[in-house]
Amino acid sequence: MDFDFSAEEEAFRAEVQEFLAENLPAPEARGPEFAAEWNQKLAEKRWIGFAWPREEGGGGAGLIEQFILKQEMAKVQAPPLGSDFMGLAWVGPALIRHGTDEQKQRFLPDLLESRTLWCTGYSEPDHGSDLASLKTRAVLEGDEYVVNGQKIWTTSAHFAKWIFMLVRTESESRYGGITCLLIPMDSPGIEVQPILSLVGQHSFNQVFFNDVRVPVGNRLGAEGEGWKVVMGALANERSGISEATDMERRLEDLKEVARGARKNGRPALEDSSVRRQIARFEAKISAMRLNGLRALTKQLQGNPPSTETSVNKLIRGQLEIPMHDLALGLQGSESQHANQWTEQSLTFHGTVIGGGTPNIQRNIISERILKLPKD
């Protein structure tokens, strides 16, 4: 057990910090060209896809180095590594694990160089938490699948170039009838309609598929293996959601709010209940960070992320909404005004649901880890 980083790892951390100090302009100084230039610089360092194998165009780095890189970037609120969030976080890893050589060559370079953008088509109107009952059909005709059905809550579908999709290729077998397809969003027969989120943003969509023809070469994994592909992808999604650095920063912001606030005519920080609530958040965030590091150790020993990612996903849900509620409570009547905290306090109600609701995480933990009977 050693929570210290090695001298080499610390040297790498210093390199990242130095790079950020030299290359990351302050938010207000970032012009329209910034994103492209920034991604170019990161690509040169091979920091995008940093832990992917070198033969796939990645940086060949270890998971610890990747952790350090992400941590340092989050500390200074650098933009994400590469512009294609979903593509890099789970489509790429799924391609590396399940893709053919031809698919890897076709998709990975574009991903690494931010030339593409992926969205994720799992949820359907009648099949959300119960994802495995999904109905969007794909029927093989010659060397093409013909896809018919509807996806919903598809984040970024209105500007994505590709969709990472789950379809049903067989109706008898619940899990064994699911297949993963990679479909260009400009395929004839795809129609995207916006849905406005609670905060009034257009971030997710409904996507309709009407006789969309998809070459068989765009299938990821074998027919009927889509569930396996997606379990790995969901674990990656949940472990990404669960990175603690972001929460550490939010905690500092919350403390700042508390320092400036008054409650019942006295400084809020003289109120024990405020202090203890913040202290409980702090301990929970420490636990989240350390849980992540312990899970990382298991990955280093060759076990890909799995059910344990539900632990931190649940913790994040226990933190985000109450932390923002406290921030609002500290603002008193000011919390009726729209500001950074009040807006975020609304946004996080969506984050908690995306990637699987808290109840679903509790089901996963109780059924797959504690082995209680399925409901």
């Binding site: 057990m1 050693d2 929570f3 210290d4 980083f5 090695s6 790892e9 610890i64 403390k255 508390a258 320092r259 920080l269 024990s272 202090r275 203890r276 913040i278 202290a279 409980r280 702090e282 301990a283 929970k284 420490s286 636990a287 989240m288 350390l290 849980n291 590091l293 312990r294 990382l296 150790t297 298991k298 280093l300 020993q301 344990e308 632990v311 649940l314 913790i315 109840n359 995480q361 509790r362 089901n363 933990i365 109780s366 059924e367 880890i369 504690l370 082995k371 209680l372 009977p373 399925k374 409901d375």
Partner: protein, 375 residues
């Protein structure tokens, strides 16, 4: 960097587990807890021979010379078994000597604490509301040979079985004017009164000092400079108790999960119902998190003493919250059998109530987390 236990450490843990399963199953625990002594002298001797009493005692003083990370792994197992013994008390007495005893004092007392021929414990406070130096009121009268102590120490764990007490006393008016001294149970003027414990697997009592002569050679460190050591011992105590909490919580969870698999109502095991399985999933998340905080705290003791205080406060606060909740959940999910003497789950509820104020309750520790966190 590596956040897992080594193979050797896993083996050591398995050996402790095997010993407890064979020598101290719950029927034996219950038998011992009904005895006057509250521990088995025979088992104590065996633990001494196995090297587990002096796990953290340096080899030159007859110990195993291991670290706190090894210690907490062992205490997790003793906690899981509700093992009735003065193990934590004895270890903390040894820690006091290791922290601030001189070579002569270590030679004199450590080998006995390590081999089981002498049982040690801490006698720090008199009041029930403050585990810090502020809770020390016992005044020492200086005399030609050292000090004379008259007064009472309350809440002394394992007072009845101890041969040696590490007694805290006041040498001046300032808060930090404190010292620690070794007082042997057979010295003239020393007696103890047993107090009935809410958890009979844990013993507590009052130490009565009536004109007890403390020679200078028995005072640890410089007289009047004991405050830092006392604070350190409170932190170490909080970490050790948290380790037993994690183990006991794991034990209570295991019992309750098993019960939920076996008990059938409405035609199905109750563990299928979410009102039952979800609180168990939450308990699991809390236990995973407490373990993370615990291993970090133990590692801080071994490698980064400057982080002990904050790590100890986080883990004891978090562990106390978690175990308190699990005590409630465990009984409730057992139904009426949970309220019987016969079922073991009640023993864990008792343990949770015993552990809560040990070396500071959740309010005490979260207040510290807040202060150390800069608010």
């Amino acid at each position: 960097m590596n956040f897992g236990f080594s193979e050797e450490q896993e083996l050591q843990r398995a050996e402790v587990r095997k010993y407890l399963d064979e020598q101290c199953p719950m029927a034996v625990v219950r038998g011992i807890s009904e005895s006057v002594e509250g521990y088995s002298a025979e088992q104590w001797k065996q633990l001494g021979e196995l090297g587990w009493l002096g796990l953290i005692v340096p080899e030159e003083y007859g110990g195993a010379g291991l670290g706190w990370i090894d210690l907490v792994a062992m205490l997790e197992e003793t906690g899981r078994s509700l093992f009735p013994s003065p193990l934590i008390s004895n270890t903390l007495a040894a820690a006091a000597l290791i922290e601030s005893g001189n070579a002569e004092q270590r030679r004199r007392w450590l080998p006995g604490l390590a081999d089981g021929t002498c049982i040690g414990t801490l006698a720090l406070v008199e009041g029930s509301d403050d585990p810090t130096v502020r809770g020390i009121g016992l005044r020492a009268e200086p005399d030609a040979d050292g000090f004379v102590l008259s007064g009472e120490k309350r809440f002394v764990a394992d007072a009845g079985s101890a041969d040696l007490f590490i007694v805290a006393f006041r040498t001046g008016d300032a808060e930090e004017d404190c010292a620690l001294a070794v007082v042997e149970a057979d010295a003239s003027g020393v007696s103890t009164n047993a107090v009935a414990s809410i958890d009979e697997t844990k013993r507590t009592g009052t130490l009565v000092l009536d004109g007890v002569q403390v020679e200078r050679a028995a005072v640890l460190g410089e007289a009047g400079s004991g405050a830092a050591t006392i604070e350190r011992l409170v932190d170490l105590g909080a970490i050790a108790v948290s380790a037993e909490i994690v183990g006991a919580a794991d034990g209570a969870l295991e019992l309750t999960v098993q019960y939920a698999k076996d008990r059938v109502q409405f035609g199905s095991p109750i563990g299928r119902y979410q009102g039952v399985k979800h609180p168990l999933a939450e308990a699991y998340v809390d236990i995973v998190s407490t373990k993370s905080l615990l291993y970090y705290a133990a590692w801080a003791v071994d490698k980064h003493p400057e982080q002990i205080a904050s790590a100890a406060a986080q883990v004891k606060g978090f562990a106390t919250d978690a175990f308190t909740q699990l005590g409630v959940t465990g009984i409730q999910l057992h139904g009426a059998v949970g309220y019987t003497q016969e079922y073991d789950i009640q023993l864990y509820l008792r343990r949770s109530k015993w552990a809560r104020p040990m070396f500071g309750d959740e309010d005490f520790h979260f207040d510290r987390v807040a202060t150390m966190g800069g608010i």
